[in-house]
């Protein structure tokens, strides 16, 4: 059997993706391949272009060059909501919950793109609509339970403590039933215990489904702990890729990121 770089078995692929902002290359010639079910980390110093990569994958920014393929389809120029419908979901670096809506409502929004009844059925109050609303509610509660947020279902999202808000973001993204989940600094601002819970949560997610996870983080211990593979980016360019052990001892990574002496955050 021929090894083809376009093989459909390559679940997700970015090839030579570049993003320029008026002459400044935020991301340059970035390529990566992710297989189904993998947990890969994306690390790099502040401003290295990590979130820009995420923004391009999810359609918030358009690459200046290169292409992005998902499940055999070129999604480079697709709109955000269409990319989510095709199975890529994300969380954000700065929490972007629907603040004034309840915890449960935040998750129920994720079911909107797959809704079958039209707005007319909703307006007319037809039983088909009632059945679908019930289904959406149950589906969303399931994800809240998985995240341990079920007791808080009717609290306003903005009233939740910070750590739980981050978990809600993840639950909300999971409710879109993605094939790939992008987590942008999910552990930011968490204390060590919350980080342990988060790591356990991510492990539970992986036990339940084959969702591919791509995650940006600054906490080295956290990343080394849960990631199977790590990609390192600096000044918009990929500088290393490999297992945690390989990365830990890679001299380029050490000099670029850790700056000689160990500045790793605990």
């Amino acid at each position: 059997m021929e090894e083809d770089s376009n093989a459909v078995s390559s679940f997700f692929q970015m090839r030579h993706v570049t993003r320029e902002f008026g002459g400044l290359k935020a991301v340059s010639d970035f390529s990566i391949t992710l297989e189904r079910g993998e947990l890969t980390g994306l690390i790099g110093p502040n401003g290295a272009g990590k979130t820009t990569v995420f923004n391009m994958i999810t359609g918030m920014l358009r690459p200046t060059a290169g292409d992005i393929t998902w499940n055999g389809e070129n999604i480079t120029r697709l709109a955000s909501h269409l990319i989510t419908a095709r199975g890529i979901a994300r969380t954000f670096q700065n929490i972007k919950l629907f603040a004034d809506m309840s915890v449960l409502e935040n998750v129920m929004v994720s079911c909107h793109y797959s809704i079958e009844s039209s707005f007319l059925t909703a307006m007319l109050g037809l039983p088909k609509h009632g059945r679908e609303e019930k289904r959406i509610r149950e589906h969303s509660m399931k994800y809240l339970e998985q995240a341990g947020l079920a007791p808080l279902a009717f609290e306003k999202a903005q009233n939740l403590p910070y750590g739980l808000q981050r978990k809600l973001e993840i639950a909300r993204a999971l409710a879109t039933q993605p094939g790939m989940l992008l987590l942008d600094e999910p552990a930011a601002g968490m204390n060590p215990m919350e980080k342990m819970e988060l790591a356990a949560f991510i492990r539970r997610i992986r036990e339940k489904s084959e969702v591919t996870i791509f995650l940006i983080e600054h906490d080295m211990k956290f990343v080394m702990n849960i990631c199977e593979r790590i990609k390192v980016i600096n000044y918009g360019q990929s500088i290393a890729e490999g297992t945690p052990d390989e990365i830990r001892s890679d001299p380029e990574v050490i000099s670029a990121y850790l700056g000689g002496a160990s500045h790793a955050q605990g």
Partner: protein
């Protein structure tokens, strides 16, 4: 609260409303009936306006345009050819307007559909932008529509307007439409569609990331809002029996803004309350513009004072009580039940 109890409470309320309307339509004075009709039409307008501005978060400053479209559509369709002949004195009405005539109810539905159609046409430029730009573009469209009404002598009779419309609008029509509007729009707000719209209002980027298509969602809201505004326009036309382009200026939009801001931007209940207060307040404040006699003294009326007071109220609300009366919450049987339970708890020793 159980579904059965809610259903029964709803039926009882409707019966009560029916009864009140019966009473007024039989024994009420012309003045009272007119106020009630006004209230109902304002409720329809305010609830559909609040849907777009408050629930979806789009600052739409052009509802006057859709109301005008609805009013003219309904009027032109319900008038007899003879009545049109009398009105179109400068220029003959074009075909098929000069010969067409349909029953009132058909003209109302047509009013809504035509308004929604125009909304569809402009949704492409309007929904491409947000925030201030959207406000200005919708303001612009509202103005353009008014100017078009003024200039198309052979379609709308231009600045002369249409006179002598048959007063089809009665308490049953106006309150029937108002009830329908509230029920239908609230159902939509409570559905997953409503959640998607609120999500767009809260954080459009995050909503997109969760799979919500803002253009489709907002267009649905925009069309529905225009539809009900159009119908209300038709009701209005057949209530005051004379319409002209000067009726549908930005001033009308301003009045709607007052209603939904004072009531609470984002709350349907608030919109209803705002509409009632505005209709009632407008009437009550008319007294300020007439001379008043207090004992031996006569205080002269001050024309224009009404608007000064309204403007002041709007400013005061927006400066000091931005959330309005209801904020974003709704009054529902559930919320009443919990309030009642709360009172009971404080009373028992």
């Amino acid at each position: 609260m159980s579904k059965k109890l809610k259903f029964r409470l709803n039926v009882v309320s409707l019966v009560l409303l029916f009864g009140v309307l019966c009473l007024f339509s039989r024994y009420g004075s012309g003045y009272q009936v007119r106020i009630l009709n006004n209230i109902a039409i304002f409720i329809t307008l305010a609830v559909s306006y609040n849907f777009i501005n408050g629930v979806c978060g789009l600052l739409h400053l052009g509802p006057n345009g859709f109301i005008a479209i609805g009013a003219y559509t309904s009027a032109l369709l319900s008038m007899t050819p003879a009545e049109k002949e009398i009105n179109f004195i400068l220029e003959h009405a074009i075909w098929p307007i000069d010969v067409i005539q349909v029953p009132f109810v058909v003209s109302l539905v047509a009013a809504g559909v035509v308004a929604a159609f125009f909304a569809f046409l402009i949704s492409f430029p309007v929904l491409r932008v947000r925030g201030d730009y959207l406000a200005i573009v919708t303001l612009g469209f509202g103005e353009v529509i008014r100017v078009l009404c003024n200039a198309s002598q052979s379609v709308t009779n231009g600045p002369l307007g249409l006179k002598g419309l048959y007063p089809h609008t009665n308490l049953w029509w106006s309150w029937g439409v108002a009830t329908l509007t509230v029920v239908v729009i609230q159902r939509l707000i409570n559905s997953n569609y409503g959640l998607a719209m609120k999500a767009i209002r809260e954080d459009e980027t995050a909503a997109r990331a969760m799979g919500v298509d803002p253009f489709r969602c907002l267009m649905v809201a925009f069309l529905i809002s225009a539809f009900f505004s159009g119908i209300a326009g038709g009701l209005l036309a057949h209530l005051i029996t004379t319409i002209s382009p000067g009726l549908f200026t930005f001033f009308l939009t301003f009045n709607l803004l007052i209603m939904i801001v004072v009531g609470g931007l984002g709350s349907t209940t608030g919109a209803v309350i705002g509409a009632v207060l505005f209709a009632w307040g407008g009437e009550a404040l008319r007294a300020v513009e007439q001379p008043m006699e207090i004992g031996p003294f006569t205080i002269p009326g001050i024309p224009g004072m009404r608007m000064v007071i309204f403007s002041l109220i709007l400013m005061l609300v927006i400066l000091f009580a931005r959330k309005g009366i209801m904020g974003r919450s709704e009054l529902s049987w559930n919320s009443l039940e919990s309030k009642l339970a709360g009172w009971r708890r404080t009373r028992t020793p």
